[in-house]
């Protein structure tokens, strides 16, 4: 793993702003395979990303050499496991430029992070008649936890609208922030459309009204350089598996001040400092929110993914993906009958589209036979689909390991689709 990382750094990636895709792809063993007799063209990274060998090795090495429970053993393996686990926390903290390590809470993923905030911060702060503000482009995981909270508390869910390009209407949003608004929750990057929301501006807007902001960063973390201190948000959630790390691990960042005042979520080991049958004193941050043995291997894998991404450099990744998105947008627009859904000015490398009257599910099946993996359906954003007047879309999502050849294969595949449904 260490050797790999070094080779990546010293391996002639060229100028710091450029990315050698051939070399990068060699780090992702899964991409080498053929599926259905064709070379795999993986265009579904927004659903889950592939993992570099460095991540797979880090997890294997942990189980091969260091496996033990954390925070409790006096023995050497436990010490090593604890160091690796806490080391991963430090990597996350630096990756998103949080102010403190203890602002990083390990959770199962973005969904769990949002539920944690709804069930602790939300339950304590929200009363009947209060309001939670979200947006029309949210993923179900940033809708349903708030609905559950509103139902329990007799609170009201308000929804900020978008325009037809898939961009938030900021003036409308500002009008919806009222005296009863207790929290604003929104996606940094839309999973279905790729829209990048101007989160920093929105945080300023909300904070002027003393409204805290939770950002669903599941789709942003793999593409954008994150800086919590500059973004200024109160909570930020993301998943390891979309960031080239393993499934089952994710991060809730919370400003220490807010995390301190929140009650614990789940009770159990690790989250206590002392227990008697009369009273339990809770552990300090972040352990107060990490009941039970955590996903140690997952955290270590996530740490390795962050090392990998950081070595490539987020600016190089962004530049590569930006070029690829422009190329793909142009190429798809030339496919007869293709309509892009989501054409925001600021976009991550996600292309949602319709093709004539062919149902996206049928597009997906034909492409799969060409070895091309895309996502089809409502992308867990049914209210957004309804707002845009479509039942479903086909979605190609690109990561830094994708090339122009992948886009060319997609275009050829779409012509096959047109052939089948001519």
């Amino acid at each position: 793993m260490r050797a790999q990382r070094q080779s990546l750094r010293a391996g002639g990636l060229g100028a710091p702003e450029s990315l050698d895709v051939v070399r990068v792809r060699a780090d992702f063993p899964i991409l080498e395979q053929r599926v259905r007799g064709k070379p795999l063209v993986y265009l579904d990274s927004a659903a889950t990303s592939q993992k570099p060998r460095a991540v797979i090795d880090a997890i294997a090495n942990y189980y091969l050499e260091d496996n033990a429970n954390v925070h409790r053993g006096v023995h050497l393996l436990s010490e090593r496991a604890t160091q690796a686990y806490e080391g991963a926390r430090g990597k996350v903290k630096r990756f998103i430029n949080a102010a403190h390590d203890h602002e990083i809470v390990f959770v199962r993923g973005t969904t769990e992070a949002i539920n944690l905030v709804a069930q602790t911060y939300g339950r304590r702060r929200v009363s009947p008649g209060d309001e939670i503000l979200i947006t029309e482009m949210e993923h179900h995981s940033d809708i349903v936890p708030w609905q559950l909270l509103c139902e329990e508390k007799g609170a009201v869910l308000r929804v900020a609208p978008i325009d037809d390009e898939g961009q938030l209407l900021l003036d409308e949003m500002e009008r919806l922030i009222g005296p009863r608004t207790r929290l604003l929750a929104l996606a940094h990057v839309s999973n279905a459309l790729g829209t990048i929301n101007p989160v920093r501006r929105i945080v300023e807007m909300a904070h002027r009204r003393k409204v805290p902001v939770l950002v669903d960063g599941a789709q942003a973390a793999p593409h954008l350089a994150l800086d919590m201190q500059s973004l200024g948000c109160d909570f930020y959630a993301f998943s390891g598996h979309k960031l080239f790390g393993p499934t089952g691990i994710g991060v809730l960042y919370g400003r220490a001040e807010l995390l301190e005042e929140m009650p614990p979520w789940q009770g159990g080991g690790d989250m206590i400092s002392s227990v008697t049958f009369e009273k339990t004193t809770y552990n300090k941050l972040p352990y107060k929110f990490e009941a039970g043995t955590p996903d140690i291997a997952g955290a270590i894998g996530l740490g390795a993914a962050i090392d990998y991404v950081s070595a490539l450099g987020l600016s190089a990744i962004a530049a590569h993906e930006h070029g690829l998105l422009a190329y793909a947008t142009e190429a798809l627009r030339r496919v007869p009958g293709l309509r892009l859904i989501g054409t925001a000015k600021e976009k991550a490398s996600v292309l949602s589209f319709l093709l004539g009257d062919v149902h996206p599910h049928d597009i997906g099946t034909v492409l799969d036979r060409e070895g091309i993996a895309i996502r089809t359906g409502h992308h867990c954003a049914q209210p957004l689909m309804r707002r845009l007047g479509v039942a479903a879309t086909a979605r190609a999502s690109l990561a830094f390991y994708n090339r122009r050849e992948d886009v060319d294969a997609l275009v050829l595949g779409l012509h096959k689709v047109l052939e089948v449904f001519a």
Partner: protein, 151 residues
Amino acid sequence: MSSELRDLYQEVVIDHSRKPRNFRKPEGANRSAEGVNPLCGDQITLYLKLTGDVIEDIGFEGAGCAISKASASLMTTALKKKTKAETETLFEQVHSMLTEGPSAKVDPQALGKLAALSGVWEFPARVKCATLAWHTLRSALDGAGAAVSTE
């Protein structure tokens, strides 16, 4: 085009998805049920005019992929004047064809035009698309009335 794809999207299937038959609410319909496939957003409302034990008329409305639409359309053409028991037998045969393929004990030819769906078994992710209409039918016949989900 690969042979599997040709098997899946047979001419009859494409035709029925483009021009679904009985795509309407029949006059005098006395049973209905709704079916959804939450995975892809397919949605179908099935209507029956049931006289005693016999399906006098049948129709459907909704939106979905080619397979789900064609399957619903083909089903409606196969079921007119059939009894509940005959319908149930046919469902079982279609279900075997869709899930077991050539190893199924049914002779696709005996299923008439429904045999056009014989290629679906090679696409496990699409079996639910093809069975949605049939599950919805069962719910309409049972008179349960609650929405059917493929999940």
